[in-house]
Amino acid sequence: MSPLAFDFMQRALLSALLVGLVAPAVGVFLVQRRMALMGDGIGHIALTGVALGFLLGTAPVLTAVVVATIGAVVIELVRQQGRTGGDVALALMFYGGIAGGVLLIGLAPGGTNANLLAYLFGSLTAVSPTDVVVISALSGVLLLTLAVVGRQLFAVCHDEEYAKVAGLPVRFLNILLAVMAAVTVTVAMRVVGLLLVSALMVVPVATAQQLVRGFRATVVVALGTGVLASVAGVLGSYYADTAPGALIVVVALGGFGVATLLGTLVRRRRTASEPSPAGDRRPTEAIPR
């Protein structure tokens, strides 16, 4: 029977499509500023938010958005202060997020760690009609925001000091990016799962980098591979009866492997056909040590 015959699969596929678009679209800026693991840290914090939802008897998605956003802003503020390394701030979030989630779910009436599993690794049947509405709305807001401030975010992530001199609102844009990363994580958690969402923000970008040069081209290819991996992973998990998050990431990693091979071949062929111009030193040769 076709998976599209089931309402839950229609919802899962639509969600996967949106998540496949949004996750790399935001993730490319995190990779650009060399904070690829930030999505992972936020995912851990969001787990505390999910557990808080169970404890308070409210929608876990709502509390996850709030807690993840607060955590992401704290990470960004710590990074801006520069007193604690960005990696240390992330580590604190990893430990605190997991510990908070397990602790709070234990305190929730009737709560067990099993309640968290669907949020940790994603679930085909977990995407409710309300979730689809929330995912669609938040994805729309994220994509619209990126369409408006994408060039500014690129400038800030590329060269923060230059952006300051150019008069861009650097602090606001950095916090906006942190908030967008938090919303992306919570949007994606129903399909991919909190522990694997970061992979969908990073792996398609890494895949695109093997094939194209330039930021805009990387974004386009990353969005395409993100959608392909998400939809293929959800469909595959229907037939294999597995958690979709794991299969989405495995498909994405497979794509990365293929792209790496292709990219290597293309670069070798290009190098063989293009002699390097005379007197044109490569950066490493031109920088004194």
Binding site: K164, Q209, G214, R281, A286, P288
Partner: protein, 261 residues
Amino acid sequence: MSLQPPVLELQGVAVAYDGRTAVSGVDLQVDAGEVVAVLGANGSGKSTVIRALLGLLPLAAGEVRLFGTPLAQFRDRTRVGYVPQRGGASTGVPATVREVVATGRLALTGLRRARAADREAVERAMLSVGLQDRAGDSVATLSGGQQQRVLIARALTCDPDLLVLDEPTAGVDLASQQALAATLSALVVRGTTVILVAHELGPLHPLITRAVTMADGRVLHDGPPPEPDHLHLHDPEHAHPLHDGPGHAGPASAPSAWGLQ
């Protein structure tokens, strides 16, 4: 007598890192059309002064004015072009030359979409540094001198009245230094005010109208540029075969310098 305020004024500027004073008591006035070199050995405070006048470092004391306006109130950022030390040109996701140069136009465009005039300004800036043929290439694949040119082109997209360059010749081969001199020469002819930090001037020397030498966070000398024979500031960290010595070659014409005929 000109009624125009100085392009740049620093009065009693002091900057501290974690309570340790890096520069103090710096007074400096730069008028329109001047080409000022800030010289000094490593740790003398020359880059700190430059970063402070751009608002990248907070002042512990003193005041900075750009075009007569206190720095905190200065909004017309298109009038200032900044070329940082090379290194910011490469990040986690490689960008093309055109993409990086286009970010220079954001000071003017803000949130609005780029128009034809903006795209033309970007193309013009790339042409002015001879990189129009590399517009679609990743910056990470360029040589050190070419990367420096990308940063210069980015600073030129808004036709700034003041161009600030931090160590533009560091780690750049002699041919690229000559090409940089040619570009700056063309800007100076148009009336652009230039302030640059340098460890050694090399081919830039003929352009410099004034030199400010710093030592231990203070201005040691402010006046005509020293003769080339006295210019080299010995520092093992900057000694490298690719650096030209204290002697200089005059700036070549821009087209030939960038390899264009």
